[in-house]
Symmetry: C2
Subunit: 419 residues, 2 copies
């Protein structure tokens, strides 16, 4: 199994293998600028399977949910989907009944125009997504002219896959792509995905937007179970700013075009491992590209009473602005890590707790170790910083969370980002 | 009743009334630089009542607690206290048994030297406090020479009160003082207090450090009840960076030297109101002086199912870096306020929810109002920003939380603050 997670893949060149989402058999993709974003950047993207696909998705748990999330939940409820239509620049959230009508019209426009390129599907087989400013109505005139133009450009080339990866971005500084192949069910299966997200990132059941396509043949019920489990260990372990978005969506479509058998037994496990690898790569790319980020941070908590205690402590550390600024400044101020776990609500036995920065133990048996702070500082100055905290209870709970540092650039992006 | 809460009181001038903590009858105060802080700023402070006082305090709920917090809880357990000895520059947290011995020695040094100025008390009647870096041992040699020198300087003058207010600060940019007088129990009672705190501020049972002195005569039991209730509605409603400190301490000492009766009945209510006013003023001064802050933000949540739901939603809004940066930039991006409540875990009926910025309604009946964003922007550009959110449930829960904006300066202070 191979996994490409370079974070910033350039335009594919002729002669190189296609490792974009269109490398998955039977998927077409594309993106364009339809006029929603003033910057002129791509703001409309489409991903379509030539044949109906089994599909499963997880969505935001925010009580304020975008209209596309509400419509998307309806459309994926039967476990089948054939495509996704995505705009950026306007989130279609806090928009009431009009927002719901607009999200449904996006799906209808896509379905209607896909007929012209020979792909027939009901609007209810399209999943809509929108990201951007909350509290604005979608500019439907731009989508009414944009969607037909985009359908005409759909292709299964590497360039089309690259365009899709670009098309779903907002404040992201690079595309987020992951790709894996494996053998299962008597065929070579490809799994490829893209995601976006660098601010308002603290997924809870899903991340900002992630689309994974596979040509595996897999029934909706096991796919749903696998997607949920994979989301919990990948996207749900990322936080940039603890602000769970109203638009979080992670969808996986499996169209069976690899030609293999319907997966079961050990083959399902192999598929789960492949999907986990792709999604973990995407999740880490989100953390590394968090708004203003200069470092990727991994927080690992062990010795917790329960898994949920471990996650609570890991998230408290990962979300503390004091922790994130210490990491930004390369400051060996490990007291901030230990004290964040202390207020997380997780059970903790301070006298048996152990804290490590990278491989260096800084705190043990209730007091600092004798290690020179200059060594800790060297570990903090890396572009990847690992924090490990043993909560010192007799439990076996562990959790891993990915985040980034907090820089002046985050403030610039978010204080100067005007609605 | 008068309350002075100007936030930045200058040195008192001859001829002006003393409104510092030494204006309370029978209290002596002082501060000095004993060599802990490299900056040369004051790092040691003392507050002492000439006679034993009823006392009550609330302390951090962080599971990692400073040695002074552990010793302070022991000393105040009997409801009596006669003084507080406070250092800054080193928090004496994560320091094990040696840390506990050091905190006890601070109290013993104070008690032993106070004899030389005619104040006799056992070491167990002193409350120790330390703030600063976590994970370092106290430099006891500096305290062993500093405490005798400071005792010799104790006074009940306005200058001594000012010195105390200055002496407890760390990254604070100004002193935090509040003062009130009232008539109860047949006498004029003075309540005056100081606090410190601008980073690692998300009190839960108390704030960073707050000391309130009063010459009211009041029994320990009602004082304890009142202090707890007042803390919950004042210090516990402030957050700068959601990082609950390991050192949070709020102590109130009542030495009875006003000459009045022991308070009971309606007089206790009057005292509670006075203490609430002093503490609310101090709490708001902390929020306004949050690290890097340029604005004071009040978040008021109503229409919640319960009070705790209201507080959960208000804290989610107040702690969201996306909310705090929008306020910093004067950006009318109210979707961030509504969506923060949405992920807080509080019950919410989005269709009946109402959001206001200042007095301007921006969101109602599930959709944006027609108000011009330029008007909202004008409200956001003030140095005091009020956010009101009705969660739209049929409940009567309300809560108010104070915070500040998030600026580049916060990053500078905390990324460049080296341990």
């Amino acid at each position: 199994m191979r996994c490409v997670a370079c974070g910033a893949i350039g335009k594919s060149e002729n002669g190189l293998a296609n490792k974009t989402i269109t490398a998955v058999k039977g998927f077409l993709a594309g993106a364009m600028h339809c006029g929603i974003k003033e910057s002129g950047k791509p703001d409309l993207a489409l991903l379509v399977s030539k044949v109906p696909a089994a599909a499963a998705g997880v969505f935001t748990t925010n009580k304020v949910q975008g209209a596309p999330v509400i419509v998307g939940r309806e459309h994926i409820a039967g476990g089948r989907l054939q495509g996704c239509v995505i705009n950026s620049g306007c989130a279609n959230v806090c928009t009431g009944q009009r927002g719901l009508r607009d999200a449904r019209e996006m799906c209808a426009l896509a379905a209607q125009n896909l007929k012209t390129v020979g792909v027939r599907l009901p609007p209810s087989q399209m999943l809509p997504s929108s990201t951007g400013v909350i509290g604005r109505f979608l500019p439907m005139d731009k989508l009414r002219s944009g969607i037909p133009a985009l359908v005409a450009k759909l292709a299964d080339t590497a360039e089309a896959g690259e365009a899709f990866a670009q098309g779903i971005l907002t404040t992201d500084t690079c595309v987020k792509t992951a790709y894996a192949t494996l053998h299962a069910g008597g065929a070579t299966i490809t799994i490829a995905g893209n995601c976006k997200g660098s601010g308002m990132i603290a997924p809870n059941m899903a991340t900002m937007l992630a689309y994974v396509a596979t040509d595996a043949a897999i029934a909706p019920a096991p796919l749903r179970r696998i997607v949920k489990a994979v989301a919990d260990q990948t996207f749900n372990c990322v936080t940039v700013d603890q602000h769970t978005s109203t638009s979080d969506t992670f969808v996986c479509m499996a169209n069976g075009m690899s030609g293999g058998r319907i997966l079961s037994g050990r083959d399902l496990n192999k598929f789960t491992t492949g999907l986990m690898e792709v999604c973990l790569s995407l999740a880490k790319q989100i953390a590394r590209d968090g708004e203003g980020a200069t470092k990727l941070v991994r927080v690992f908590v062990c010795g917790a009473r329960t898994t949920s205690d471990a996650k609570r402590a890991a998230l408290a550390i990962a979300n503390s602005p004091l922790v994130k600024t210490a990491i930004h400044g390369g400051d060996p101020n490990w007291g901030r890590f230990v004290s964040a776990a202390g207020y997380s609500g997780a059970s903790m036995n301070v006298a048996k707790s152990v804290c490590k920065v990278g491989k260096i133990t800084v705190f043990r048996a209730g007091r600092p170790t004798d290690v020179a702070l200059s060594k800790v500082e060297a570990a903090m100055r890396q572009t990847e910083v690992d924090i490990t905290l043993d909560l010192g209870t007799s439990g076996a709970g562990t959790a891993q969370v990915f985040t980034c540092d907090l820089s002046r650039e985050y403030i610039t992006i978010n204080a100067d980002y005007h609605t």
